[in-house]
């Protein structure tokens, strides 16, 4: 393909990405741009050109070891999620903007540590970026069929222009605000899109090789398995390579946390916890998908192209060899996508670190303190933009000068080992509060030096100067110090060897220095905050600070970097949150902490600390004081929890009391109504008696017959009165529980017969039939026979009252159930109205229906019956399903002694 056409395609593709990023920035609030899938796909920035091309190269030359880079993250993913949750929480709380910020903050906002981490990251990542450029350049050459332009100037090299374009892209979308903790939806979304593109095109070429060029996976396997060194490509030949595997997996596990670009997409760009839930299965799946066809492309390439061609680019060369230029171009664009996302996110993360942790704290602070806020914001942005440009150009020159000869995979691994040096201070510091700042610095430096000696130095000597003596014989021919076999350990390959020794020395130095030198109070303060990050509310008050400070001074500093509007808004929020008066003059620890966090986003934690401390008079605090205050906070929190619990309990009690009180009030009201009813019921016969007596008294001349009738009325009403009083007393006695039931064993059938005998006279007079079915067995239960008799008599009397004369039939059936005896008394009368159903047993019910008098009777019969049955732990109710009259059901427990 003509190289101009290719350049045209590249520029078009870049413009498309610009457009996507721009669109995403505009729709930043939409769920299209902000969703867990975008987050997960942006994590796939992990898969750079090294993955895209390098894996195939490794698979072709050294077999399955390419998998370690992906197995590390996949195996460790559950752990990754758990640790990441903590990291994200801390980062959001402290407004961390990069891994350098994170580490330096953990060790008490240490300026030098932040700078050191930045330098390590730049040293580790710069060659890695240059590797990406190399991939672009070489693939460009393959596709366009132009020889690499090594003789001409850089201005004739297309890679140079691509690098510049990438720098513009990163600078444009990466530095829109000065607050580096703000999310950059445009870049993240374009990275997600690129992740999709690279996966699809890579799977595409994999499928093409496997199923089009060959006849499926079996075909490739059959063909490749006959070549001589096949065995070594598919197996671990020894324990040693197993150990190498192990270390490589550990190395890639560290990389997924510590690579600045990974930290950026997974922590800084994280929005919700939901993101992580999605990532936990999707990201491993993505990595696995990416590796499905690697071996087949590698084997296919080996079979078709042999060892002459660069195995890294089999995925491009295979379609080209077959004349499929279009497919090759797509593959090229896939690889280019991998490059763009890696380069853009890496330089963005590095530029933030460079500006916030190196350039501003070491050079520009004074300048900033004097200048005006709008200018400061622009200064900060410009520093980052220049940093991005320098990084990419630096990578380009690194590539031009050193990189051309190196394989993709080896540079990638070197990069990993350098970055891994941050591991001990990062992870141990996260869980061990005693890890100190000086230990972190010394550990990192030691690890870096060891890496330099065991990996970088021999690598440079070998590949650039072609000098093998150092490697083979060691410095000054001391064998123990041979860089690839330090102290005689020669079973590891150079990378794992360097990883092992650097990590070993790093961890040892970190632990021993931490244990032997105590850090200052501030380190310990932050140490506690990081380790105890789950004490959510502790964070707010955990910052220990003593001294003298004025709000107006702090406000001035904030103004200078945030502008007046943002400063006022932030301070308003602060006062609102802590409920403080706005005109307070003296600043407390909370305001200091708050202001430091505010500035951290813009200028990094180290600088913000320096700035704030320049306007306040801080008094040193002893370590003991820090620990005491933190302990106190924890205690306060648990006391608060205890108080909260007690208060909840009290609220609950109050509610219960309220309920009881309401019940009592209701009860009281019902009792009043009951008394009213009682009074009314008593008054009726009394009125009648009194009136009749008066009439008799005044009428001496009354005929005897009439006189007799009046006297008869008086007797009748007196009886009625007696019965009423008796019933009321009964009800009261049963209700208050003063009645002692005389429970004895009785035959229930016989008791019912007795009750029938009692009402037989009335029933016969009205010609009503009463049928008591004899049960098949003798039903014996313990009960007070007089009382139960009263119940049956009552229910039977009611039935007699409500059935029609002559046609009335009352049926009684008794049956033994599991642990009670059930008696059903059914009549064919007019039945019970649904609305009365609920109330018929209610002794207070009458009062609610005051205006309607019941048919003769006190109206207490059923209420008394109910209390009697309940006194026997039984139940009585009216069956709602009975349609042909009333059916009362009585259950008496079958209590034998």
């Amino acid at each position: 393909m003509n190289s101009y056409v290719l350049i045209f395609i590249i520029v078009g593709y870049l413009l498309l990405l610009f457009g996507i990023a721009f669109w995403a920035e505009k729709k930043a609030k939409r769920s299209w741009v902000n969703n867990p899938y975008v987050y997960t796909l942006s994590l796939a920035v992990y898969c750079s050109a090294w993955t895209y091309y390098g894996s195939v190269g490794i698979a072709a030359t050294s077999g399955v070891s390419f998998l370690t880079t992906y197995l590390g993250p996949v195996i460790a993913f559950p752990v990754w999620i758990v640790v990441l949750k903590k990291i994200i929480k801390i980062s959001k709380q402290h407004k961390v903007s990069s891994i350098a910020d994170f580490i330096s903050l953990r060790y008490g906002n240490d300026r030098f540590l932040g700078a050191l981490v930045t330098i390590i990251c730049v040293l580790g990542v710069l060659p890695y970026i240059s590797l990406q450029l190399k991939a672009v350049s070489e693939t460009f050459e393959i596709i366009s069929n132009d020889p690499v332009n090594s003789s001409g100037t850089i201005f004739e090299d297309s890679t140079f222009y691509i690098a510049v374009l990438l720098a513009v892209f990163a600078a444009f979308f990466g530095t829109r605000t000065t607050d580096a903790t703000r999310r950059r939806q445009g870049i993240v979304f374009s990275v997600a899109v690129e992740s999709v593109i690279k996966l699809i095109f890579f799977l595409g070429v994999g499928g093409y090789v496997t199923y089009f060029l060959f006849d499926g996976t079996t075909d490739i396997y059959n063909q490749i398995s006959v070549i001589e060194d096949f065995e070594s490509l598919t197996t671990f030949d020894s324990l040693e390579s197993g150990i190498n595997w192990y270390f490589m997996i550990a190395l890639s596990f560290l990389a997924i946390f510590l690579l600045p670009r990974q930290f950026h997409v997974s922590v800084i760009e994280n929005t919700t916890k939901k993101d992580l839930k999605n990532a936990i299965w999707m990201f491993p799946l993505y990595l696995l998908l990416f590796n499905v066809f690697v071996v087949f492309i590698a084997w296919g390439g080996k079979l078709r192209l042999g060892d002459i061609a660069n195995p890294d680019y089999y995925s491009l060369l295979l379609p080209l060899q077959n004349g499929d230029v279009f497919l090759a171009t797509l593959v090229f664009l896939g690889g280019f996508s991998a490059v763009i996302s890696m380069v853009v996110v890496s330089t963005l993360a590095l530029s933030t670190m460079l500006s916030n942790n190196l350039i501003i704290p070491y050079g520009f602070l004074d300048k900033f303190s004097k200048s005006r806020p709008e200018r400061n914001a622009n200064y900060i942005k410009n520093i980052r933009r220049i940093a991005i440009l320098c990084l990419i150009l630096g990578a380009y020159f690194f590539y031009i000068n050193f990189n051309i000869e190196l394989s993709l995979f080896s540079i990638g691994q070197l990069s990993f080992v350098v970055i891994a040096q941050l591991g001990p201070s990062f992870f141990i510091g996260l869980f061990w509060n005693r890890g100190s700042s000086i230990a972190a610095k010394m550990g990192i430096i030691t690890g870096a030096l060891v890496t330099g000696y065991t990996l970088v130095l021999p690598f440079v000597l070998d590949t650039i100067f072609g000098n093998m003596n150092f490697i083979v014989y060691g410095p000054f021919e001391i064998e123990l110090l041979r860089p690839y076999a330090l102290f005689g350990i020669d079973i590891l390959n150079p990378v794992t060897h360097a990883f092992f020794w650097s990590m070993f020395s790093n961890v040892i130095v970190y632990l021993s220095v931490s244990l032997s030198f105590k850090g200052n109070y501030r380190e310990r303060n932050y140490g506690e905050m990081f380790v105890d990050s789950n004490y959510n509310s502790l964070q707010e008050n955990a910052f220990v600070w003593k001294g003298e400070a004025y709000v107006s001074d702090i406000r001035k500093v904030l103004n200078r970097f945030l502008g007046e509007e943002r400063t006022e808004r932030a301070l308003d929020l602060f006062y609102l949150k802590y409920d403080l008066p706005k005109n307070a003059e003296a600043a407390d620890a909370r305001l200091i902490n708050f202001s430091e966090k505010l500035l951290t986003g813009s200028i990094g934690s180290a600088s913000s600390r320096i700035l704030i401390s320049s306007v306040v008079k801080e008094q040193p605090v002893t370590l003991v004081e820090v620990l005491e205050i933190l302990e106190e906070n924890k205690k306060t929190i648990s006391t608060n929890k205890f108080l909260k619990q007690k208060s909840d309990e009290l609220t609950q009690l109050t509610d219960e009391l309220k309920e009881v009180n309401e019940e009592l009030t209701l009860h009281d009201k019902l009792k009043d109504e009951f008394l009213d009813t009682v009074a009314h019921e008593l008054k009726t016969p009394i009125t009648s008696i009194r009136a009749a007596s008066e009439v008799l008294l005044d009428s001496q001349d009354m005929p005897d017959e009439l006189k007799m009738q009046f006297l008869d009325n008086i007797v009748h009403d007196s009886e009625r009165l007696t019965k009423l009083i008796h019933d009321i007393l009964d009800l009261e006695k049963l209700g208050s529980g003063r009645e002692i039931l005389d429970k004895k064993e009785n035959d229930l059938y016989l008791t019912i017969e007795k009750a029938i005998l009692g009402v037989r006279a009335i029933a016969e007079k009205k010609n009503i039939k009463i049928k008591n079915s004899k049960p098949s067995e003798i039903l014996v239960a313990r009960y007070d026979e007089d009382r139960i008799l009263q119940v049956f008599t009552n229910v039977l009397s009611n039935a007699i009252k409500f059935v029609e004369e002559k046609n009335g039939v009352i049926k009684i059936v008794s049956k033994k159930r599991k642990d009670y005896i059930r008696i059903s008394i059914e009549d064919n009368g007019k039945g019970i109205l649904i609305e009365d159903m609920k109330h018929i047993f209610d002794k207070f019910y009458q009062s609610k229906n005051q205006n309607v008098k019941k048919p003769a009777g006190s109206g207490f019969g059923l209420a008394i019956s109910k209390q009697i049955i309940e006194g026997h732990n039984g139940k009585i109710w009216a069956d709602k399903n009975c349609k042909t009259g009333a059916r009362f059901i009585i259950e008496i427990p079958d209590e034998h002694k």
């Binding site: 009213d676 008054k683 009726t684 009194r690 009136a691 309607v852 008098k853």
Partner: protein, 122 residues
């Protein structure tokens, strides 16, 4: 002079019996209803001078009956006496508001009732 007419409305036959005997003895023409419904029936053909009205009765109660009496042109001037066991202040208030002429409570003295009635129709 025509006999004075009185309507007794109560569901307690024994009480009615004593009242009936007394009024007849005092030269009243007596009508008897066992509830409000019967009373209204009687009022359609007879306009008594006094109605002696119980409140708590089945079907149509005393309040409803009073309402009927007061809302009909022919009956609205009839003197009405509540004769009831309801003796709470709120009950009495309610009765008076509805336009009852006298409120007497059970148990009662027959002599007192006679006196009240005589005063009312004098």
């Amino acid at each position: 002079m025509n006999k004075k007419k009185i309507l007794i409305v109560d569901d307690e036959p024994n009480i009615v019996m004593s009242l009936e005997y007394t009024f007849k003895k005092n030269d009243f023409e007596v009508f008897i209803a066992r509830d409000g419904g019967e009373a209204i029936e009687i009022l359609k053909s007879q306009i008594p001078d006094v109605v002696l009205l119980d409140i708590m009765m089945p079907n149509v109660d005393g309040y409803q009956t009073l309402k009927y009496i007061r809302s009909n042109a022919e009956t609205k001037n009839i003197k009405v006496i509540f004769l009831t066991a309801k003796n709470k202040a709120s009950d009495i208030q309610k009765g008076l508001t509805m336009g009852v002429d006298r409120y007497l409570t059970k148990p009662f003295s027959i002599k007192k009732i006679m006196a009240e009635i005589n005063e009312l129709i004098a």
